[in-house]
Symmetry: C2
């Protein structure tokens, strides 16, 4: 029942369908072979995924499924969405097997798949926690909180990944049975209700792409359209929390719980593309643009509020209390990827880059096995961790609500799929990583030390039209020595044996914020290439809480291979603030900062913070 990855021809990434502008590359057609991301994928496969399975065992997620399968006796443990973490792990394991097949990993997947299959009820229903806690009578009774569709969605995503990467169809059969049960149960004239937590929409479209069964696409569309009419009521949060205040096609922004919002938007994008619904796609463009211009952190982090894990108001982007959940960055990447394929607009690939290298990557330790749930852009010295998710704890091995760790695992294992896309006669390269990309008969070999160096060499094995994303930050970029426009795709027709030389300018950028972003008024952040930088206490002479950058100080970049797993360090000059240490009241007519001593300032990539020690950190530094 298994197949080697090479024998599998379907796409590893969501297929764009006929109406999208670009198609994702197929399973074997994009391979990261070195550079920045390769060791991260390696650690994900070697350490994170095996340790993730141990964590699922320890936390009881696997035991819940065994109990539901009639193996042993006991009560369900943990949160109501416990199954979803197992499914995300199964998806990660499938992509990892596709990337780097091993018999052991295949066996792990088969063992877990057997448990999942055994837990499924005769009629296709599956949710171990609901089965154990509430029985058949409890099905879909509390859909707003039960996460039954959410778990189903992650199961379907795992099943699709599994069949694509291993050829195994066991989990797909479970997913189809469950999807058929959903089709039979929900819709007009049936049960009219939606899950409090979206993801089923993306999953059903993907299952439609895999199987061709139109009923799955129809149900996905129905779920998208059902929201926003007050279908979710009186559940302890206002409808906005559940993205249920405004119909998706009328919404002008994202709001409420950020992961829910971007998962829904990604699924709605899939629906729009597959059904040719241009009105819906336009609405999603509008929402993405508003999110990106008013509700996104400089790191690409999404979600300003701890309360409700939610998007804030326009320009409400506090650094210290940024929520910026790792899962929201992942959902943001998934949404942007679908928008990119649908529209061919470079800005979506720029958005993916920003989220990937910053808001997402900070969520995982360099070792690969510790995680941030919350990705703050500032931590003060001596901050007290009063919540299990507090950044002041540093990254942690697992969480009571463990949505982020296996979400990171599946993203890293499937990263190759986000590098490129194809259209008739052309290939688009979106992210620059050492590796190979294939379109038809032609293979492109990409060599680069990006993001440390802006030089990218691409060798074509045959004639092909290549479209290279020039990031919007890359003013002055050249392709084969000729200037190209930032924020677009540069077109190159390559002949066999040609080497395309892309040069992206890697000068450090000192960026300010729109004055309406009150939280960082008077501050700047440092960026270099796709990376946002941060200052950590361990590198500074002065107290980070008091540090100011000198207005005109130059910034020097130097690569340090020895520091952690190697990165480019930025050095500039600042001054220690004098603050008002002894003030009994901090708001006075003379509260202007005194002039402190000049000091060196060292900045490291934001993603790398808290890998040496947990201490004060800032992305935004006062200047002046």
């Amino acid at each position: 029942m298994s197949a080697t990855p090479d024998a599998v021809s379907t796409s590893r990434s969501p297929a764009a369908g006929t109406r999208g502008r670009w198609r994702p590359v197929g399973l074997a057609d994009a391979k990261i072979t070195g550079g920045f991301w390769s060791p991260r994928q390696q650690r994900n496969g070697d350490s994170a995924i095996p340790s993730g399975q141990d964590q699922l065992e320890k936390a009881g997620n696997l035991q819940n499924l065994r109990l539901a399968a009639g193996i042993g006796e006991g009560e369900a443990i943990g949160p109501v969405f416990a199954d979803s973490d197992v499914y995300k792990w199964l998806e990660a394991a499938a992509w990892e097997y596709g990337r780097n097949p091993s018999e052991e990993l295949l066996q792990r997947q088969r063992d877990l798949t057997a448990i999942v299959a055994a837990a499924q009820r005769e009629d296709g229903y599956l949710d171990s926690v609901v089965q154990l806690r509430y029985g058949d009578e409890g099905r879909y009774k509390q859909l707003v909180w039960s996460h039954e569709h959410y778990c189903a969605g992650h199961l379907i995503q795992a099943a699709v990944a599994q069949v694509r990467c291993t050829g195994d169809r066991e989990l797909l059969e479970v997913a189809i049975k469950l999807a058929d049960h959903l089709v039979a149960t929900f819709g007009d004239g049936k049960t009219v209700d939606v899950d409090g937590h979206p993801v089923i929409e993306m999953a059903l479209v993907e299952l439609y792409r895999e199987t061709g069964t139109a009923a799955y696409l129809d149900l996905a569309r129905w779920f998208v359209d059902a929201r926003g009419h007050g279908i979710i009521k009186n559940h302890g949060h206002e409808p906005a929390y559940f993205s249920d205040r405004v119909p998706v096609r009328e919404a002008t922004t994202v709001e409420g719980h950020s992961v829910r919002a971007v998962y829904l938007a990604a699924g709605a994008t899939d629906v729009a593309v597959e059904t040719g619904d241009t009105e819906l796609l336009e609405a999603l463009k509008r929402q993405f643009a508003h999110m990106w211009s008013t509700k996104t952190y400089v790191t690409g982090g999404l979600g300003a509020r701890w309360e409700g894990e939610a998007f804030g108001d326009e320009y409400e982007l506090p650094s210290d209390r940024a929520y910026a959940e790792t899962c929201a960055a992942i959902g943001g990447i998934q949404w942007a990827w679908r928008m990119l394929l649908a529209t061919g607009e470079a800005s979506y690939a720029d958005a993916i880059e920003r989220m990937l290298y910053n808001g997402f990557l900070a969520g995982v330790s360099l070792a690969g096995t510790e995680y941030f749930y919350v990705n703050a852009l500032q931590l003060r010295g001596g901050a007290h961790a009063d919540n299990g998710r507090s950044p002041a704890h540093g990254r942690r091995g697992w969480f009571d609500c463990a949505c982020c760790p296996p979400n990171i695992m599946r993203t890293l294992a499937s990263l190759d799929g986000y590098l490129a896309s194809t259209s008739d006669g052309a290939i688009q390269i979106h992210q620059y990583v050492a590796g190979t990309l294939t379109a038809g008969e032609v293979t492109l070999t990409v060599e680069t030390a990006y993001p440390w160096d802006g030089a990218v060499g691409i060798t074509a094995s045959g004639p092909i039209a290549v479209e290279l994303r020039i990031p919007a930050w890359a003013e002055g970029a050249t392709v084969n020595g000729k200037p190209v426009d930032a924020g677009t795709y540069a077109q190159v027709d390559a002949a066999a044996g040609d080497v395309i030389e892309l040069k992206l300018p890697m000068a450090t950028r000192v960026v300010g914020a729109d004055p309406r972003v009150d939280a960082v008024r008077g501050c700047v952040a440092l960026e270099r290439g796709p990376l946002v930088y941060a200052v950590e206490q361990t590198d500074q002479e002065a107290n980070v809480d008091d540090l100011h950058l000198l207005p005109q100080a130059s910034v020097a970049a130097s690569h340090d291979d020895q520091l952690l797993d190697g990165f480019t360090v930025l050095r500039t000059r600042g001054r220690a603030g004098t603050g008002h240490r002894d003030a009994v009241w901090p708001f006075a007519t003379d509260s202007a900062d005194g002039v402190g001593d000049e000091v060196d300032v060292v900045a490291v990539p934001y993603y790398a913070w808290a890998n040496r020690e947990i201490g004060a950190m800032r992305v935004w530094l006062p200047r002046g």
Copy 2:
């Protein structure tokens, strides 16, 4: 069983005991007769208190007590702490009766008291929700969340107020029976546990003062000392939430849930004073100072975080997401009052003034019958209310968790008690309000239009030493024409018939913030006298979200008797920012604000905001 207020001789405010420096004034010895606060008290008595009883009926709080008393049948409704709102209302009604006796109000209190007495169990236990939901077996089983001591504390406070103001002893008998039950149940060798929500500590000390029963003081001390040793564990929040991370006498700051923290601190201050525990008092001084210098808003608001309704880290004071619960301001006033009486330090009276006129007073509408739970210092235009407590709703008539409204009622009704204190041969005047103050045989008549005007005239009926608080902000103040030091008490020996003339300078102050308060970097706030000002959209030419103050613009103050209930308006000049309305990404190298048109800027007292319309508002304005 009743008595007129004049016949009651005990103090209306918490008695300071023998070891405090100053004594609160007695029941009939401080009377607000006009000026700023009198109409607010009037509306509180005429509108808010009667309407509060209706709300308690509608929300089911009273019904719970009836059911527990065996009147009717049904289940408990509402939050587990529902009884406490009834008790806070009873306390408010008692103080109001003391201020302005009416037979109708007395009858209302007696009717409710009869229900409370009937709900009490034979052995003294009383908590209607626990009785109805969990029965006798459920007592004190979930003390961390059940609020049984919290409800008991508010009952005791109401009972003490009732006996002091009406002479009725019925509620006091209930309180004593319940307190005796607590004494018999909790302590070393008995049940070792504490309530998740403090307030019982303050209440037991007050009951000790009223009855002389030392066991109540002992139990209060035991509750204070039991905390901070991990007595509260595994309850969904970390111990800091419950002020249980560090023992009170070792703590150096306030942390966790802000109302819980300041109620506990106020109770601990009572314990310290009554037991002569100078070590504990020193710890509380340290905690108050740290709170005031690093965790207090310019409005005196306490609690920076929605998540956990908690104090944030040092200098974490966001304007937009300020929680600053109205109850926390009330608790802060109660704590500062106890610290003032204990130490005689003017800074505590300054703190009371700041909280009272700003963070507290904004919590109630000018009509007196609508309330803010959360007191933000900024609301952006078009902000969406995604929570019942969101300031974007404007003030509301009641809340599912209705702790704030009756807390405001009891504070306004008992405000007279915070005006002054006495020591041997002297009277201290802390707050300047038109009214009369009596110390022994001497009556002082205070005449003033404060806070609109800084002139205060005080006429003495006989010889007396008067100590006048000169606020720390009042540099240049004079008493009888002679300069006095700000931040101290000015001493005046008055003879019979003397008129003391205090002049407080009422120039507008443009205040900045300690540079470590990241949230308001580059901004200033306007203050005049004890009032913090705010700009509301309804008064501006320009968009409040974009508004900047001109650096050198002068500020003109003018009194407008016609605007709402009359207040002094501030006018200055600013400019409309140009922002980056069309930016697709708000963080760029050229994000500095453009120069917009010059405009008039109008500021109104912060407490008065959202009484005309709910729209954009800012306390802190960018300057430059």
